[in-house]
Amino acid sequence: MNLSRRQVLTLSASAVAVAATGLGPSVVFADAAATEKSIAAFTGGKSPATGKITLNAPEIAENGNTVPISVSVDSEMTKDSYVQSVMVLAEGNPNPGVITFNFSPMSGEATATTRMRLAKTQNVVAIAKMNDGSVFMDKKLVKVTIGGCGG
């Protein structure tokens, strides 16, 4: 059986790996520094504490092109104490910025879900900024894998 290059790419168990790791030298991935810079800009230079915010993401992505995540922040969501915004970053994407959710006391609760593309195995980071200026962070490693050999 002779296959065209295109067929080979879709055929082999490695197609996902090609997409995931082989984007080639022209694509420049974000590095830790770029992520740090985005976090600093969001927090006004404060280092985020752990706690309060929970990031939910799959351990291994079923499809790197559309990875479902959700964030929730433990907050009263009253005029005196509420979550202003939650920023989500993907450390290993060409551009780490994914989305920023904004809330108000009227939101009732600070939860949100979205889907994101992940170019490769990387940390997803979520940072919550409270109305008093305090910031909290959660982080999760999401693997983007070739698949096909389990069982």
């Binding site: 197609a15 698949g147 096909g148 050999c149 389990g150």
Partner: protein, 563 residues
């Protein structure tokens, strides 16, 4: 070869095992008796609930040989812990006598000799005898649960799209199941079966991919012996990654620890006094889950095919590992009062097919299900002079046969074969029938592809699969074994991180190092990608056996392990 009588008197019986405070010695109660059905099954009346657990039978209706792994490495926190203990170490840890029936059932030590002495294991008609006896003794106290990987793995299961197994399991009278390979029949077929099944397929971790709503019932509450027992189903979390996602595009899986937590709480709110997680997570994932989610009394573990003679306790949870292929069935008698477990008796019952009388009704059903295919099933393709097996972290001899066939019949330089944990064993001198071959490769995506891959890509694949197996965090493990290779060798260090576990990749024929930049012709099978083309793998192996009907394969020495 032992006579049946010698077998019966040869050894240690499996007496009353375990119970609170008895973890550590499996067979000490049983020193010198003869092995009879009664020895295997007799149990004092205890408690008010009995759980029977069967898992990963992979459509095996008939007795079989199945060699347990000689290599099953644990990394990180689980290094050296069961189930990552094999061979002589396993015998020592559980105080089993070498050469005993337990040693044969639970390890790979002297496998061929002991297989010839003690015979085949399993058979759904023998399992039916056990279940019926337990039901007769325990009446309304019994809950019979199937951990999944039931509908796939044989010629007849494939031919009937799982219908033979569904009929057999309905006849056995199960109370609930969960799944994994079941989903490789595709969404429509699964839904069709679930609608007609006599019992629920429970899975709290499968969601509609578009709306993120539960796709299956998460749990059900059964009343047994006056106790409300919640059974929560947990399907294999990585089904759409390890198996073709395109066959089940609308279902999303995952460990979803929070959902388990939520379902445990909901079941307790519903009045459950005993919470059972019927899981297809794999053992290490289950052990981690049990350490992080409170409120699971009994975790019935499946997927990684481990057979452990004692429960492993994590906090207040006991984890039961019941093996695979119908070699074992677990019986757990529980004394439940005031919403908690006050005591238990556990027995991993080895299904010695020559000792346990087949149930005539299920025997007849199996004959009827296999009948239309019997001539084809018995058709001989060759004969093996050496042990053929698959289970273990690296290449087994049955895989080597498949890899050789791929290279020869598909004209390839290198072959790849998935590290599945199912696939039965053949001992030296056995003929290889269509039945046997399909036990090693029956599936719904069997196409044997032929393509070119760069040396770098081959390394990336090996690294990726190795990380699925040896990631120190169990939640990132998928539970298969290492992908098998033909035509090449490599060295692996499981303790290294991804990207640096694999080294010294060599083309065996020339002895040359594999060049990351060169393209190699690679043949393989069971690709998860849609549209894969090629003949089914069983045709490839059959053609190879036609040209090479006598199989003689020594242990693979081209995969080197360093730690």
């Amino acid at each position: 070869m032992f006579s049946r009588r010698e077998f019966l008197t040869a050894s240690v019986a499996l007496g009353a095992i375990a119970g609170v405070g008895m973890e550590g010695l499996w067979s000490r109660a049983a020193a010198q008796q003869a092995l009879s059905e009664n020895d295997l099954l007799d149990a004092p009346d205890f408690g008010n609930v009995t759980l029977l657990h069967l898992t990963d039978i992979h459509a095996q209706l008939k007795p079989l040989y199945f060699r347990e792994p000689s290599i099953n490495i644990g990394v990180g926190e689980v290094e050296g812990l069961p189930p990552h203990v094999t061979g002589a170490d396993f015998l020592k840890m559980f105080n089993l006598k070498p050469g005993s029936p337990e040693a044969y059932a639970l390890t790979s030590v002297d496998f061929t000799a002991l297989a010839k002495a003690y015979g085949k294991m399993g058979g759904l008609d023998r399992i039916a005898t056990i279940a019926k006896r337990v039901r007769a003794e325990r009446g309304d106290k019994v809950l019979f649960l199937d951990g999944g990987d039931t509908w796939q793995g044989s010629y007849t299961a494939n031919a009937s799209k799982g219908a033979d197994m569904v009929e057999a399991m309905n006849a056995l009278g199960l109370d609930a199941m969960t799944g994994h390979w079941e989903f490789t029949y595709g969404t429509d077929r699964v839904e069709e079966i679930v609608d007609t099944l006599d019992f629920p397929l429970l899975a709290g971790n499968i969601f509609d991919a578009e709306w993120n709503e539960p796709a299956f019932e998460a749990y059900q509450i059964f009343e047994r012996g006056g106790v409300k027992v919640a059974v929560i189903g947990q399907a294999f979390p990585y089904t759409p990654i390890a198996n073709p996602r395109w066959m089940i595009p609308n279902w999303s899986f995952g460990i979803r620890e929070d959902e388990v937590r939520k379902n445990v709480a909901a079941a307790r709110d519903d009045g459950a006094e005993l919470v059972v997680l019927l899981s297809h997570n794999g053992f290490d994932v289950d052990r981690k889950l049990a350490s992080r989610v409170d409120g699971i009394d009994v975790l019935l573990s499946g997927h990684t095919h481990d057979a452990l003679p004692e429960p492993i306790r994590v906090g207040n949870t006991m984890i039961i590992a019941s093996g695979s292929n119908g070699k074992f069935i677990s019986r757990l008698d529980l004394d439940v009062a005031d919403g908690s477990v006050k005591g238990f008796r556990y027995r991993l019952i080895p299904v010695f097919s020559d000792v346990i009388t087949p149930d005539p009704e299920i025997s007849a059903l199996i004959d009827r299900l296999r009948g239309p295919h019997e001539a084809e099933l018995q058709r001989e393709l060759g004969r093996t002079e050496t042990l053929l097996y698959r289970r273990g972290n690296f290449n087994g001899t049955f895989d080597d046969l498949i890899c050789q066939a791929l290279i020869a019949e598909r004209d390839a330089e290198i072959s790849l074969s998935p590290g599945f944990r199912w696939g039965t064993s053949l001992i030296s001198g056995q003929s290889i029938t269509v039945d046997d071959l399909h036990n090693a490769c029956a599936m719904t995506y069997p196409e044997a592809y032929r393509s070119t891959m760069s040396g770098q890509l081959i390394k990336d694949i090996l690294e990726d699969v190795a990380d699925n197996l040896f990631n120190p965090d169990p939640y990132y493990q998928q539970g298969g074994d290492m992908v098998r290779v033909g035509g090449m060798g490599y060295t692996i260090n499981p303790k290294k991180p991804i990207g640096s576990r694999i080294s010294d990749m060599t083309v065996l024929r020339t002895g040359e190092s594999i060049d990351p930049k060169r393209n190699y012709v690679v043949a393989g099978w069971a690709s998860v990608n849609e549209g894969t083309e090629g003949p089914p793998i069983w045709d490839v192996v059959e053609a190879h056996l036609k040209n090479n009907p006598t199989v003689n394969i020594e242990e693979n020495r081209s995969v080197k392990l360093v730690m």
